[in-house]
Subunit: 205 residues, 2 copies
């Protein structure tokens, strides 16, 4: 239970885990590397996959799309619940990838650089109903790249599932404003490294 100014909010399993093991650093950095994006708690991943399936169960998803690297395990956790293939966008041109691919340019908040991301045209088509999955949403650049690639393939972005959204950055709002169905398992509205506090946006489930 989390005491907020307007009452009592029952946190979900992920928010509880973030409060327990997440570390707030200066510069609005939330480190979840002990359970989500360096060391991974496999039971938590299983639960995240099930929760995305529960939230998007009404959609006829044909493919789960994410971007390397830390999105991969989460997308797999979700895709196995839907029973559909998972595709991950790659960050650099590899000699193992044919010329025929969709591309988008993505700026990384974490690494302060730009990457081209690519998906082979073989693995997305106009018939695909895509669930996009990623671990973090901040300014939304990675997500916009994945949306752009899906739409370039003629597929439809049926839903977007994010594990942790930084609600104080503009990515989530701009993507919701565009009409996409975006669900984040935890939305951090503010955090403070000095007092080690994290405030989650209260969401219905």
């Amino acid at each position: 239970m989390y005491q907020s100014e307007i009452g009592v909010y029952r946190m979900n399993f992920l928010e509880e885990r973030i409060l327990k093991d997440g570390i707030v650093k200066e510069g609005n950095v939330l480190k979840v590397d002990s359970f989500l994006n360096h060391q991974m708690d496999v039971a938590l991943l299983d639960e995240i996959g099930k929760e995305f399936h529960r939230r998007f169960a009404d959609l006829k998803i044909t493919k789960v799309l994410t971007i390397e690297a830390s999105g991969i395990a989460i997308a797999y956790a979700a895709a196995r619940c839907f029973g559909v293939p998972m595709v991950f966008a790659k960050k650099a041109k590899s000699i193992n990838i044919d010329g025929d691919m969709y591309t988008a340019e993505v700026e990384s908040f974490t690494h302060k650089n730009k990457n081209q991301i690519i998906v082979s045209k073989k693995f997305l088509s106009k018939d695909d109903k895509v669930l996009i999955i990623d671990d973090f949403l901040a300014n939304g650049c990675a997500l916009q790249g994945l949306i752009s690639i899906t739409e370039a393939a003629g597929g439809s972005v049926e839903g977007i599932g994010i594990v942790i959204e930084k609600g104080f950055q503009f990515g989530g709002r701009s993507i919701r404003n565009l009409g996409y169905r975006l669900e984040s398992l935890a939305i951090v509205d503010s955090m403070d490294a000095a007092t080690k506090t994290i405030v989650f946006r209260e969401q219905g489930t």
Copy 2:
């Protein structure tokens, strides 16, 4: 069934899948991007995870270690069968990683470049009994980096599980010669882009 010169060899599920969907390209490139390292078949990943668990079930594994990106889903598939955390080595320094980390230098066969790989010291210790997992083994550079990091932490490399080994390159032999218990679900002894043939090493199961 695969007809070899010395009799009939019953292929395992992975060898069958490679023959069915793998594509042999010039330069000893085996493309498995339709089911293993770009688009991922989640049912196949589940089966790969179970098979690694079966082969290493006698070991008291405490952690599964891999390297981003395509190793991640496979390592997760294995780690969930063992019920232990998975850790993936990262390829570049991120501002989200503390200074306290193990590092190793790794040369990529696919990308023809060198990367530093890093694992936070928080996630490997002298008490860890590690199963290293990766999708491909060719010259073994990535694997040597993961071994070196595990041993720098004082942990023991209990086993190494590889999905596809290129048996005509020296990585597998040199790592076995060092005494490591290395199991590859499929070992490609030769392949030919002109005739589109793949010859697997016959292995006991």
